[in-house]
Amino acid sequence: MEELKDKGMNSNSQYMRFVVDFHNMMVDKKITLAYEGEVTQEITKAFTSMTERNLEKVEENGKIKKKVYHVMVECLQNISKHADDESETASNNLDEGLAKTGLFLIGSDHNEYFITSGNGIANENIPALKEMIDNINSLNQDELKQLHKEKMRETAISDKGGAGLGFIDIARKTGNPLEYHFEPIDDKNSFFLLKTSIKRNSAE
């Protein structure tokens, strides 16, 4: 009994230590929102309106506000539409509402806002995604505009409700290359991370 109690105390204090560390890490990395879980349209609406309010509070420049909003929506809808998620709670059905597990972080310092999203991806889908992002990163703003035009003309709305324009739009809005990483999980799956940043002084 005593032993059990000790153990409980111990794991409890370990947990508290973890929370303190976690909090410190968030403060240190200036992360204002961290989420791991199901990404749905409801979550997208909640996070975007929350961030909108926060940006209004700090009286952020209107153009920057719009860019942050744009990138958030595209990142969150990317997860709910495109993540490879085989879990029981996942939904690929537009009529029932999409739901996929993902990671979402937003933070800011004096210079920029940074938005990071993460989701599962089947290893077989990595080469195509990598090629798409690398291609976008190799283009300048004029070329991105051109590619955007082409895609607008050629592509139809997919069965997942996407236009295939999300990454191009993010690259155009941020003016920065898309930073990404594939973290292997097992021989079939990986975790895809996408980091974008929006400069605070580039109100253009």
């Binding site: 349209q41 709910s80 009529d95 999409l98 607008m152 409700g161 236009a163 324009l165 739009d169």
Partner: protein, 100 residues
């Protein structure tokens, strides 16, 4: 013909398409999860309107935000309006885009 009227929500725009009143307007935010089903009735309405359009109509888009999927759909709507304008020798269809 019946008017198509939607109130705006957090992720869909207000839509007011009313032939009798001569009001054709889209305003607000557009980021629905399923753009095809949300805008389906709009395309149906425009098709029906094309059959018996007013002599002139001014479509106004006052969108404060739209996601990439909505941008594609809005372009499709504009193209349909262009066809309506070109097809109908009798009706003149104008489009006004207002950015906030």
């Amino acid at each position: 013909m019946e008017a198509l009227i939607y109130k705006k929500t957090e992720d869909t725009p207000a839509i007011h398409l009313d032939k009798a009143a001569g009001i054709f307007e889209f305003s607000g935010k557009s980021l629905p999860e399923d753009v095809t089903s949300f805008y389906g009735p709009v395309f149906d309405w425009i098709t029906a309107y094309g059959e018996d359009a007013n002599e002139s109509s001014k479509f106004v888009f006052k969108m404060t935000y739209f996601n990439t999927a909505s941008s594609k759909i809005i372009l499709d709507i504009l193209m349909r309006l262009e066809t309506l304008h070109e097809d109908g020798k009798k009706h003149n269809c104008r489009v006004a885009l207002r950015r906030r």
